[in-house]
Amino acid sequence: MFALAMRSIRQRPGRFTATLFSSFLGALIIMTFNSMHDTAAGPGVDDRSAETLTVAASVVGGYGSLLVFFAVASTLTVAVRQRSEEIQLLRTSGATPAQIKRMIVGEAFVVALLGASLAVVPAMFGGQLLLDVFQDSGQVAGSVEHSFGAIAFATGFDITLLAAVGAAFLAVRRAGRANGKRPGRARNFFACAALVAGALSLSATFLLDSDAEIMMAPPAYGAILLSVGCALLSTRILPGVLSVLEGPVTALAGAGGYLTVRNMRQRAAQLSNVLMPLILFTGMAVATLYMQGVENDAVKASGLVKDADAKTLETLNYAVVGIIVAFCCIMLINTLYAATSYRVREFGQQRLAGATPQQVLAMVGAESAVLTVTGVALGSLTGFAGVLAFTSVRTDQVLPGQGLGIWLAVAGIATAVTVGTSMGTAWRRLRTPAVDAVAVAA
């Protein structure tokens, strides 16, 4: 079965692009940040430099790793779900569930291994660049040499492989079940576990000193875990959102909107996999950007750092947080692209039933709009939960003094990316003649 896995990877590399890309990018992020641990442990690094590096690695590297874990896992889940027909075919050809599991999990392992291996060299350069930024801002002594060692290497491979293999295992178990009628008790369990862990992580913020260096870590972890919990629960939330939005969606998108509402009701479980990166992006962007803003203001107000230095520090921190937010955004695009490309056959069937390409696009557009509203709402909720916890400990206020500008920007980007990627991909897929589109997977 492992041989079959290898063959299927070699024969159809295109199917694995999304998975390969996400494990590559995930490993790159983890290795880049965690190489700061290795660098800090190097010989002749002064205490202050070592501290800056360790804090960056454990705070941003820490929640970054958790984020990568869920991002890679969600891409993998989407990818395995798309192969249910192939899995069905294998089963009818006499493959046992264990063999199918070995094949899918084996594939995920190989692809993630490849992705992580490809990320090693870029991560060395990435780490060097990150160190340069720290050195330019004067946070780290110029004499410190970048080192890419065991910690970067081990965390990069471990987390990427664990996320890929774990997600493939869970997804194939679901896909392999003869008729997955039992709406996952496991899903509910994971959702509750993520929400509880998130709430605990948020409460941990209150146990810290208001000027602890790692203050940003617990609320960021909390926001990520709450986002994951919400994404898993979205199978329950979506029907509610749909019943509210059914009227406007059908009114605005006509027959396309009619299809949207019916589709989304039936496909709530699949859609929650697409919602995961959207909620993560919104939640992470809101949480990290606002927290950084609050932190910057607090540093400025304390007067401990000179104005010029405060400015550099601000830029540095935004740059670091920006990497994480950009990563979330790319993962969102990646997932949406993979999920929409897969629907070429469904689009073909709709066109054969008499839908014009415009109606199919209207359907996809309406669907993205509902997803965006749900995802941005839940993401903002989880993001602001983190921000409020952080702000109330770091300052003596509850609300951050940053205004709504950041949130509006984040929501705007989330909307543009979701609607743009889905409709752009659908538009390209619609160029395949309907008859061929239907034949693809038949």
């Binding site: 019916r262 039933a353 008499g354």
Partner: protein, 269 residues
């Protein structure tokens, strides 16, 4: 029979007795030396209210013929007319709108939308066309195909034969001039296949539709009023009131002729 004024204005060709006409339709795939001529100047005229089977060996161009006639493929040259109106060569949206009022489809793989119920699948073409939805009529069509008790089921809860009957109901609900069926019984057992073929017959005899069915099965073809044989992208003969044996024999003969002209590639049925 027609729902509103827009309908009547849109289908002025309804007066003609000709449901489908193909004039010198040609279609090639690929380019240069490797180009394959799937259809080679096929002309054909089918009257309203007829049931025609299109038969031929694999690779004879029968599916291409159906797809060109149904506006799913654009022919390289030639004219396709449905109900007296020439099929537009415009955008896909224009072609889709042309098809909505005149053409219904039944495919071997059913092509029902898995997220919609039986009833929703059936009325989908009306929804998409923005036409008034007569629920009673939709139910009547579904009862006619024997699925009146399964309106709320989804396609994956139905057998192959039941799914194909939903597909037939969906094809008939728009009251099209021509219904194209591509191997409609190809994936069905004998009993379900017979039900499906009887429904197609009924659509012609009782409701006055015109049915064009591509098949390789002489038994399926024997339900039709006439058979058109294709070989090498050209029309190779007609047969009225076909019987299973006569069709099978003619098909075997077609193969002989081809073998005689081209020893390099013997073609089976």
């Amino acid at each position: 029979m027609l729902g509103n004024k827009r309908d009547r204005a849109g289908v002025s060709g309804r007066q003609t007795d000709e449901a489908l006409r193909l004039v010198k339709v040609s279609k090639s795939y690929g380019e240069g030396e490797s180009a394959v001529r799937a259809l080679d100047g096929v002309s054909l005229s089918l009257a309203r209210g007829t049931f025609t089977a299109v038969m031929g060996p694999s690779g004879s161009g029968k599916t291409t013929l159906l797809q060109c006639a149904a506006g799913l493929e654009r022919p390289d040259s030639g004219i396709v007319m449905v109900a007296g109106e020439e099929m537009s060569q415009g955008s896909e949206a224009q072609l889709t709108k042309f098809r909505r009022r005149r053409i219904g489809f039944v495919f071997q793989q059913y092509n029902l939308l898995p997220t919609l119920t039986v009833a929703q699948n059936t009325i989908l073409p009306l929804k998409l066309a923005g036409r008034r939805i007569d629920k009673a009529k939709a139910r009547a069509v579904l009862e006619q195909v024997g699925l009146g008790g399964r309106l709320r089921h989804r396609p994956d809860e139905l057998s192959g034969g039941q799914r194909q009957r939903v597909a037939i109901a969906r094809a008939l609900v728009t009251e099209p001039t021509v219904v194209f069926a591509d191997e409609p019984t190809g994936a069905l057992d004998i009993r379900s296949a017979r039900d499906v073929l009887r429904l197609l017959q009924e659509a012609v005899r009782v409701h006055g539709r015109t049915v064009v069915m591509v098949t390789h099965d002489p038994v399926a073809a024997s339900y039709a009023d006439s058979v058109v044989f294709l070989a090498d992208g050209r029309i190779a003969g007609h047969m009225e009131r076909p019987t299973v044996d006569a069709v099978a024999e003619r098909l075997a003969h077609l193969g002989d002729e081809l073998n005689g002209s081209d020893h390099a590639s013997p073609l089976g049925v």
